[in-house]
């Protein structure tokens, strides 16, 4: 018995030594930092790896996809701060590879076929889908991303106005790895209060919830070297139905209480008087009530902020500041209502009003709504009341 235990232990040790099954050095992995997904419209077929080459291959609802990946090239990005002169531009440090396939994984397999080392998605920061893809529906893509154990929920899923792959090709001057620049830009936008929290995790939450829809950051590429956050793409179920303009994000942030505040609004007081108002704190109280057997949403939005700029006027009294507050309140109310109306038309409840209804009006939900589709119908004609309240705290360090 004693010897048996010993020898069993020995056998196990030997087995372990033959192990290291999942060992793969960091430099042996082809670390994909960014992926972009486009529609593949040309007639050229992919390399058949996972299926015989024929026409009747079932594809996803979006047809064939083209995947572009941005990889970090090992050995090109030096450790630590670069010593002067030596550092190369992004063209040297990253490598952009393309592949096409009938489905996400098919395309990824085709991508793998082109690479010597194993694809590694653990550091995937950004997935960019083109507007066309988003409009056709991202069910399969979303499923693939969710299923893949290496991809995290804090990945950014973006919608690009035109070709998604363009985004990966541009080369900002500030960062050696373009994708890191882009994800840093988005993170920073959240920190500055200019953008709602909208990583893929939050998107899925909105998507799955019955009384809510998902939204994604919407970006555009300007002049091939310049990325710009230009709104929010909102979804109806799995399909993109429209996008908010950048200025509307501020009001969206207000209604969904994204803090810290930071977005600015140009408030026009009269023909030639205007101030620039910047929010610092947003407080929003949303209540769902039943009114005549129909749900009614009451949004109570309070914005606290500062004046950062003015034109043709003096700000020197409480009276003036109260006047500005009043006008700003009106502006915010108008814009919010406009925003809600827009999404109602597209039946995309990105604010999650439905969740309030589900939470507070349980019996109504259980009898009348029950499903996401039904909620979208209700949402279309939902009555929403927006009440706003603005508080100006500071006006800079000038006295007038």
């Amino acid at each position: 018995m004693k010897h048996a235990a010993k020898s069993v232990l020995l056998v196990i040790l030997v087995l372990l030594m033959a192990g290291c099954w999942d060992r793969m050095e960091i430099e042996e992995r082809a670390t994909i930092l960014g992926l972009s997904i486009d529609l593949h419209d040309e007639e050229t077929s992919d390399e058949p790896i996972n299926h015989p080459n024929s026409d009747n291959i079932p594809t996803s609802e979006i047809g064939m996809v083209k995947i572009t990946a941005q990889l970090a090239v090992p050995g090109q990005i030096p450790l630590g701060p670069s010593q002067g002169g030596g550092g190369g531009g992004p063209e040297d440090t990253v490598w952009v590879v393309k592949a096409i396939g009938h489905s996400m994984d098919d395309a990824i397999s085709n991508l793998q076929q082109q690479l010597g080392s194993t694809l590694f998605l653990g550091h995937l920061k950004i997935i960019i889908i083109s507007k066309e893809v988003a409009e056709k529906g991202i069910k399969e893509i979303s499923d693939y991303i969710k299923r893949h154990p290496e991809i995290r929920r804090d990945t950014w899923l973006l919608v690009n106005g035109k070709m998604a792959e363009e985004t990966l090709k541009i080369a900002p001057k500030l960062e050696r790895v373009p994708v890191l620049y882009l994800s840093g830009m988005l993170d920073n936008a959240i920190k500055m209060g200019k953008f709602p929290k909208g990583k893929v995790g939050e998107f899925w939450v909105g998507l799955e919830n019955l009384g809510q829809d998902g939204y994604l950051p919407y970006i555009t590429v300007e002049e091939k070297e310049h990325i710009q956050i230009s709104g929010l793409a909102y979804f109806k179920d799995m399909k993109m139905v429209g996008n908010l303009e950048p200025y509307q994000i501020a009001y969206f942030n207000g209604i969904t209480e994204q803090n810290p505040g930071g977005s600015k609004a140009l408030v026009k007081l009269s023909e030639d008087e205007s101030v620039m108002f910047q929010s610092t704190v947003r407080k929003s109280k949303i209540k769902a009530t039943l009114k005549d057997g129909r749900p009614h949403i009451k949004v109570n939005l309070k914005v606290i902020g500062n004046i950062v700029e003015k034109r043709n006027m003096t700000i020197d009294s409480q009276e003036v500041s109260q006047k500005i507050e009043k006008i700003t309140e009106g502006l915010i109310k108008e814009q919010c209502e406009q925003l809600i109306k827009e999404t109602q038309e597209k039946q995309s409840d990105i604010f999650g009003f439905g969740e309030y209804v589900r939470g507070s009006l349980r019996s109504y939900w259980d009898t009348e709504v029950r499903t996401a589709e039904k909620w979208r119908e209700v949402y279309k004609n939902l009555s929403v009341d927006v009440e706003t309240q603005v508080e100006i705290k500071e006006a800079g360090i000038r006295s007038k």
């Binding site: 004693k2 290291c20 999942d22 793969m24 430099e27 930092l33 970090a72 090109q76 653990g122 920061k125």
Partner: protein, 538 residues
């Protein structure tokens, strides 16, 4: 673990019947010295036939009686012999004939303090070999042993392994007598007990057990004595020999017996209720039972300010954990889970590692091994060579290896941090244990990544938690926890709050401080007095 224990048990019993062995082949047990004077001398001479340093001096004492003095010239103080033995023997005459010759010699003649009698040959031979001078006088059947031992010994110096900035500078030396004097001097109470016994069939080393009769739990002393009693070995050259025999788990990488060269540390532990063991010929005292946290305490902790020393203690613990897990965490991240580090950093590491021919496990293993070789080489080298060696080591292992693309720069950083961290342990033996475990963790991590690392750590922790030293849980006072003990573990609270002796030792008298609350802040020179003075002035 304990299967091996059971396996071992069958062997131990057989060694017990070896006890009856004779001290030397030349001497029969219980052989008496012949009473006849010339025969007796011959008998002793026979034992030490060709010894170069064996000296015989023949005398005629009290005018007409033959006597012989024998000694080992290498072991004795000749001045003592001349002044205290030969001189009085030759000068004195017998004035009172009513008492026997033996009484005259012992009581009236010899000046020396340490005089004994013996009749057995074995005792006499033993005495000679331990530095006694023997005096055989015609007509006295007993042999008189006079302790004239004199050995060269070094003076008391600051121990090199346990240096302190603030604290006493004396350390134990190789002479047991001096060491006892150092302890007795610090504990001048009759409750301080010293028990002595001889261990070692050939070396016959004197082993002393020290404890406080009114503090130490008697069953602990009993257990220590029992464990020492069992030892049957031909030699005890250092207290380390004893440690190997009395510790609970000889296979554990963790030392279960604390050793020290400092008398103040020994006294401190004695007063906490522990037992100190010392061997003649070794400057290192053993303290039992040893618990994990003891190896992270230094005597200085109690001499300096409490908050500073608490931070330093925590630094020590942190550095050992750090040096234990850093290389394996590095391996886990590089070889298994690169997604766990920030992307920008990961991309940079990839660049540093591009072109390195080995996987991270091998790389770290090689570097660690190189580090161990370097360390071992510098420890054994003379100081002058050591310096040169470390320069070569730094240059070759560090700079050149990276330049040659043999290892990645980050690996060098990791190994360097690890090595520095492992030096921050006050106890050498504990640091050694952790060095070994570091390799074990690198191995488990190499096989299973982070999972292997955690499992390895769990294994080590479980071992620590199940370890006992003389029945005391090794991790006490952390587990099982006692609040009193925690005050002197990771942190060291002010001495006036350390009211009780360690709970886990079950001491007889646990009170360390009798009046913990009677340290009020008085204000002899404060404002009150100033106002008084002002009033007087006015």
């Amino acid at each position: 673990m304990s299967i091996w224990n059971r396996f071992k048990k069958s062997h131990t019993s057989s060694s017990e019947n070896k006890k009856a062995e004779t001290i030397s082949e030349k001497i029969v047990v219980n052989e008496m010295l012949k009473t006849d004077y010339p025969t007796a001398i011959h008998q002793i001479q026979q034992v030490f036939e060709d010894e170069a340093d064996f000296a015989i001096r023949e005398l005629v004492v009290f005018g007409n009686i033959n006597a012989t003095i024998m000694y080992f010239s290498s072991l004795v103080d000749k001045k003592d012999i001349s002044e205290d033995i030969i001189k009085p023997l030759l000068i004195n005459t017998i004035s009172n004939h009513e008492i026997s010759l033996k009484e005259v010699v012992i009581r009236q003649t010899l000046y020396h303090a340490d005089v004994q009698q013996a009749v057995q040959l074995a005792d006499i031979v033993n005495g000679l070999l331990r530095g006694n001078t023997i005096l055989i006088i015609e007509g006295i059947p007993e042999v008189i042993l006079i302790n004239t031992k004199k050995l060269e010994k070094r003076s008391i110096a600051q121990p090199e392994t346990e240096q302190v900035i603030r604290g006493p500078r004396d350390g134990f030396i190789e002479s047991l007598e001096t060491n006892i004097s150092l302890l007795r001097d610090r504990i001048p109470v009759p409750e301080f007990k010293v028990k002595s016994k001889q261990i070692g069939r050939i070396t016959k080393s004197t082993v002393c057990i020290f404890y406080m009769e009114n503090i130490t739990n008697p069953s602990l002393v009993e257990d220590v004595e029992k464990r020492l009693e069992r030892i049957d070995i031909d030699r005890v050259l250092d207290s380390g020999y004893l440690e190997q025999f009395i510790q609970d788990n000889p296979r554990s990488p963790f030392p279960q017996v604390k050793n020290t060269e400092r008398p103040d540390v020994a006294v401190g532990n004695l007063l906490e209720g522990r037992v100190v063991i010392m061997v003649d010929g070794s400057p290192i005292a053993l303290i039992v039972p040893g618990t994990f946290i003891m190896f992270y305490q230094s005597s200085e902790d109690y001499n300096e300010r409490t908050n500073v020393m608490s931070v330093i203690r925590m630094t020590r613990i942190f550095s050992i954990i750090f040096s234990l897990v850093t290389p394996s965490t590095y391996v886990a991240i590089i070889s298994y889970h690169p997604e766990l580090i920030p992307t920008a950093f990961s991309v940079a590491i990839t660049s540093g590692r591009a072109g390195v021919p080995f996987p991270a496990v091998i790389e770290v293993f090689l570097m660690e091994a190189a580090m161990e070789i370097l360390r071992e080489a510098t420890v054994r080298m003379p100081k002058q060579v050591g310096g040169a060696l470390s320069i070569v080591g730094v240059l070759v292992v560090g700079q050149a290896a990276v330049m040659a693309g043999f290892v990645s720069p980050i690996t060098v950083v990791v190994i360097a941090i690890t090595t520095i961290g492992s030096f921050a342990t006050p106890t050498y033996s504990m640091a050694n244990g952790f060095r070994m475990l570091r390799f074990f963790l690198i191995f488990t991590t190499g096989v299973l990544g982070l999972y292997g690392l955690i499992l390895g750590l769990i294994l080590i922790m479980n071992h620590l938690l199940s370890l006992r030293s003389f029945g005391v849980p090794y991790l006490s006072p952390i587990s099982p926890m006692n609040w009193g003990g925690l005050r002197d573990s990771f942190i060291r609270v002010p001495l006036r709050w350390l009211i009780d002796r360690p709970e886990e030792l079950f001491v007889k008298n646990s009170q360390r401080i009798n009046n913990p609350k009677e340290y009020p802040t008085t204000n002899p020179l404060g404002p009150e007095r100033h106002t008084d003075m002002k009033e007087e002035d006015q």
